[in-house]
């Protein structure tokens, strides 16, 4: 199964951000945007187009699932669709993380980190 999932790598950064944002809680679209902005200190702001076309692709590939609509008590009283990470989604995020970690250590071994740092 990992072979199939590895075919999806490398993930576009928006995809990885969304998977990470869903890793600890079910969230609706706007909450994902907020979570990503918060985790990146405001450096990454997803726009609705990127967010929902990515969500559609993740749903198609079975990396996330859609939950029933419900209200978001914190935001306002609009009904929102919530999304949840599937085991495959979680695995893909882990694989991507491993890939990125390897890249980072590769860079470090080449001595690039100290030059920058």
């Amino acid at each position: 199964m990992d072979d199939d999932l590895e075919g999806l790598l490398p993930l576009p950064s928006a995809t990885f951000h969304i998977l990470v944002a869903l890793s600890d809680a079910d969230r609706h679209g706007y909450a994902i945007m907020q979570e990503v902005a918060q985790r990146t200190g405001g450096r990454t702001k997803l726009n609705p187009g990127t967010l929902y076309t990515t969500i559609q692709r993740l749903l198609d590939k079975g990396l996330i699932v859609e939950l029933n609509e419900r209200r978001d008590p914190e935001e306002d009283d609009e009904r929102r669709r919530y999304y949840r990470l599937t085991p495959s989604g979680k695995r893909v995020a882990q694989l991507e993380l491993a890939r990125l970690t390897e890249m980072v250590s590769l860079g470090r071994r080449a001595g690039l980190a100290s030059e920058e740092g």
Partner: protein, 875 residues
């Protein structure tokens, strides 16, 4: 929530408009969520970002929406294409896919191939600067029915001085010559031109310089420009050729420049000389020999320029009534001169015919699709039930047709490519610019347009039909073996197909009859299968050498007549079916009331007496020219001309006639009428002068042979060489091939149109058979009930055929009506048969009805073999 954080209506609307760029299926799913997310971000920015933040938000949202919408469209298309490809290549669909691909490839290929020719000949810009401003000027004499005559030099000079509507006027005349320096002499096509021609057209020399006005002055050293082709052929493209001398008709000329091979109006010209100063041409306003072209002055319309010239022509008429009375001027786009009106019309008819063929092909595919849709109802029903939107299904069906049409289009392009490669050799020489055929961008765009239009045509109707029924109907009907039976849309398509096929078949039948009649016309001379002609240009063109030239041609006739296999030979200034004509007005010297006072415009030819015997033009009265010692003023008339000069039946023999140039002649003989100009043109009234009167440096030799004429070419060449080893001989042609070339354009048109019509008829018949077969299949139960209730098998068959046959009849009638409406467009290319020929229309209708009946009957026969017991028990 504060008022400031509420999203204004306009922002909601703008965002909603942006969302419309996404595919409908995506919008249905996510538009609501996206609007909510947008609102949230809007509020956030309005709280924190200020105006700059808002601007940033809008920009980010705009770019994000457009990029992701494009990507989503791409993904949907990709999915649809994969689905369509899987569906089309499934085993049960392969015969459908193959038939549809072949049909579309033939249709699109035919349209593309024909459009390539139409584009090269009629549409592609000529190789001039701002070609739309270049015009041709003709002299006209309405009273004599002349509307495209060359101009005389003095008239050209008067126009050039007084006309205000042109920035430039230039003139040229044919000046084919012999290149006589050193090596074997070569005959080349050439033109004498005014120095400004290249500047007027906007053609730059490939190397060297163009002519200057000084080159035209009397006494200036002779100069020449040569074509790119001659430059490469004779000089290997060497730059050192500039400044070298080239002997043209024995006179050394300095080569000053190289001209591109394609100058728009002549691609075979190799030699360009200054028009120069010809005292004979300068004098007579009545001697019309110049081709005049002009460039319209900035801001001047063609009509204004024409009005201006007509004013000058009227002035000249008053000043020089002897030569200019009744003469006016006509201005037309230069393409009207380069492309003959009939050639243009033939090409347009051909293009219309292939467009109709493509329409028949697309209709056929639509029909096949509807038949398929019937059996796909279940699949469609299931997908609708699973929540697919109708728009989504329509899009998918259109994608499938787009895929089919693109495949057909690619195959069609390959067909067109093959046709275009072969076309240059097959196309008749009467089609100008046929060397410029290529599948270039405009042609590819038209092919793409055909693909798109066919996909829509063949896809929309079946898609709409398939989706009209609701989910439940679709699922229920698919389960049964009888699905309604009658299919009005398919019947309507059958009617359309037959109408189009009828139209094409009528056109093909009319053109075929024209061609047959064209080949049966009386030529006015006998046995063209044993005639050989060649054109010989003497290098010494001066009038002092005219006696020598006459001796040469007389000796040549003697020599050739002595060759084994030759019956007789003669010399003439032009031959029938040659390229050119010379004509003048003629009048009886004694004024007569029954002849218009401006005279009769008649062709004139200089001939030896044995020319008539060689062609076997019958002598009606009097005598032919004597071989030697014929009085200079003797003239032989064609009987048609004699009838027009003396309509009251007086004997023309011994009478005097006077010509437009003032000379007088005595009529010594009357010969039969000859088709001089072509099969389609009626025999021209013709006067024949003897070579004892005058002889041109260029004359045609005609030889009547006992054997295959082409076999004599080496012997004739050797006979010429014995008389003058430096005399080039070019352009041998058998009379049969000249006649064939004359009919080549109509023949090609007829053959192509007949093939298109045949193809359309086959497609229509297949369409009809398909519909009837489908009907019988769908209505098996109903027919079984009828048989059980006492219908005879014959009645059952008739019943199965009834609806389709009725639609066929409607289609055929509509096709006939369309043929009647389009008659005038066809009339100009028909010969000897009217566009409304009732017999042709009736026979075509009968033939089509017979074909339609056969196409209905073959599949309908199955109805008679239905076994009521078995069908009803199983049903």
């Amino acid at each position: 929530m504060s008022a400031a954080s509420r999203v204004p209506v306009w922002a909601e609307r703008v965002y909603a408009a942006l969302l419309r760029t996404y595919p409908a299926s995506f919008r249905e799913e996510y538009a609501g969520e996206m609007r909510a997310a947008f609102r949230s971000r809007w509020r956030e920015e309005s709280r924190a970002g200020g105006p700059l933040g808002m601007a940033h938000l809008w920009l980010a949202v705009l770019v994000d929406t457009l990029v992701t919408a494009a990507r989503t469209h791409g993904e949907v298309l990709g999915r649809d294409l994969r689905y369509a490809a899987r569906s089309l290549t499934r085993r049960e669909n392969r015969s459908f896919t193959g038939a549809a691909l072949l049909t579309l490839a033939l249709g699109i290929g035919a349209v593309t191939a024909v459009f390539t020719i139409v584009h090269a000949v009629l549409l592609a810009p000529l190789p001039y600067r701002d070609p739309g401003r270049v015009v041709r000027l003709w002299e006209t004499q309405p009273a004599l029915g002349i509307d495209d005559f060359p101009a005389s030099m003095p008239n050209f000079r008067s126009w050039r001085e007084s006309a205000r509507g042109f920035s430039q006027l230039a003139a040229l005349r044919e000046a084919s010559s012999n290149l006589t320096d050193g090596r074997v002499p070569e005959h080349v096509t050439g033109f004498g031109i005014t120095a400004n021609l290249w500047d007027l057209l906007g053609i730059q020399p490939v190397a060297g310089r163009a002519f200057t006005p000084e080159d035209d002055q009397p006494g200036h050293g002779p100069v020449a420009m040569i074509s790119e082709g001659l430059w490469k052929r004779r000089y290997g493209g060497s730059a050192s050729v500039l400044g070298r001398t080239l002997d043209v008709n024995l006179v050394p000329h300095v080569i000053v420049g190289i001209v591109p091979q394609d100058v728009g109006f002549a691609t075979d010209a190799d030699l360009w000389l200054p028009l120069g100063h010809d005292p004979e041409l300068e004098q007579s306003r009545g001697d019309h020999r110049l081709t005049v072209v002009g460039r319209l002055a900035p801001g001047v319309a063609l009509g204004q320029a024409q009005g201006d010239l007509q004013r000058i022509a009227s002035q000249l008429e008053r000043e020089f009534p002897d030569t200019n009375k009744g003469w006016s001027v006509r201005v037309a786009p230069v393409r009207d001169w380069i492309v003959d009106a009939e050639v243009g019309q033939r090409l347009r008819i051909l293009l219309a015919a292939v467009a109709l063929l493509l329409l028949v092909a697309a209709t056929n595919v639509a029909n096949l699709q509807i038949a398929r849709a019937g059996s796909r109802l279940r699949e469609i029903g299931v997908r609708l039930a699973l929540g697919a939107s109708r728009a989504r299904l329509v899009r998918q069906m259109l994608t499938e047709n787009l895929l089919l049409a693109t495949g057909g289009g690619l195959l069609g392009l390959m067909i067109a490519w093959g046709c275009v490669r072969g076309a240059a050799t097959v196309l008749p020489v009467s089609i100008p610019r046929r060397d410029n055929l290529s599948l270039d961008l405009p042609v590819l765009l038209v092919a793409a347009l055909c693909v798109g239009a066919t996909a829509l045509l063949a896809g929309l109707l079946p898609a709409r039909m398939a989706l009209r029924s609701n989910v439940q109907d679709a699922l229920q009907q698919a389960g049964r073996s009888t699905t309604g039976g009658r299919s009005p849309a398919r019947h309507a398509l059958v009617a359309v197909q037959l109408a189009l096929a009828t139209l094409l078949v009528v056109c093909a039948a009319l053109l075929t009859q024209s061609l047959v009649r064209l080949q049966q016309v009386a030529l006015g001379f006998a046995d063209p299968d044993h005639l050989l002609t060649t054109r010989i240009t003497r290098s010494d063109t001066t009038d002092e050498r005219i006696g020598d030239n006459r001796e040469f041609f007389e000796a040549l006739v003697e020599q050739v007549r002595g060759l084994p296999g030759v019956v007789t030979a003669g010399v003439s200034s032009e031959v029938p079916f040659g390229a050119d004509d010379t004509s003048m007005t003629i009048l009886p010297a004694l004024p007569s009331e029954s002849v218009p006072k401006e005279g009769v415009q008649a062709s004139w030819r200089i001939v030896t007496g044995d020319y008539f015997q060689t062609l076997r033009v019958p002598l009606r009265r009097g005598r032919l020219f004597a071989p030697r010692g014929e009085p200079r003023q003797s003239m032989v008339l064609s009987e048609g001309l004699a009838r027009r000069l003396w309509p009251d039946g007086q004997d023309p023999l011994g009478r005097e006639v006077s010509l437009g140039n003032g000379q007088r002649f005595n009529v010594v003989g009357i010969v039969g009428d000859v088709r001089q100009l072509g099969l389609k043109q009626d025999p021209t009234p013709t006067m024949y002068m003897s070579t004892s009167w005058y002889i041109w440096p260029t004359m045609s030799l005609t030889v009547r042979t006992r054997i295959e004429p082409a076999a004599l070419i080496p012997d004739v060449r050797a006979a010429v060489a014995r008389l003058d080893p430096h005399q080039p001989v070019a352009g041998f042609q058998t009379m049969q091939s000249a006649i064939a070339a004359n009919a080549a354009a109509p023949r090609l048109n007829t053959v192509l149109l007949a093939s298109f019509a045949g193809l359309a008829l086959v497609l229509a018949a297949v369409g009809v058979a398909g519909v009837v077969g489908h009907t019988v299949g769908q209505r098996t139960r109903e027919l079984a009930v009828r048989l059980a209730l006492g219908s005879t098998p014959g009645q059952a068959v008739r019943h199965a055929m009834r609806d389709a046959l009725r639609m066929c009849a409607v289609g055929i009638l509509a096709g006939l009506a369309a043929a009647l409406a389009l008659g005038p467009a066809l009339a100009s290319v028909l010969y000897g048969v009217g566009a409304y020929d009732p017999l042709t229309l009736l026979l075509t209708a009968a033939a089509l009805l017979a074909a339609a009946t056969a196409a209905c009957w073959l599949p309908a026969r199955r109805a008679s073999r239905i076994s009521p017991c078995v069908t009803l028990r199983e049903g």
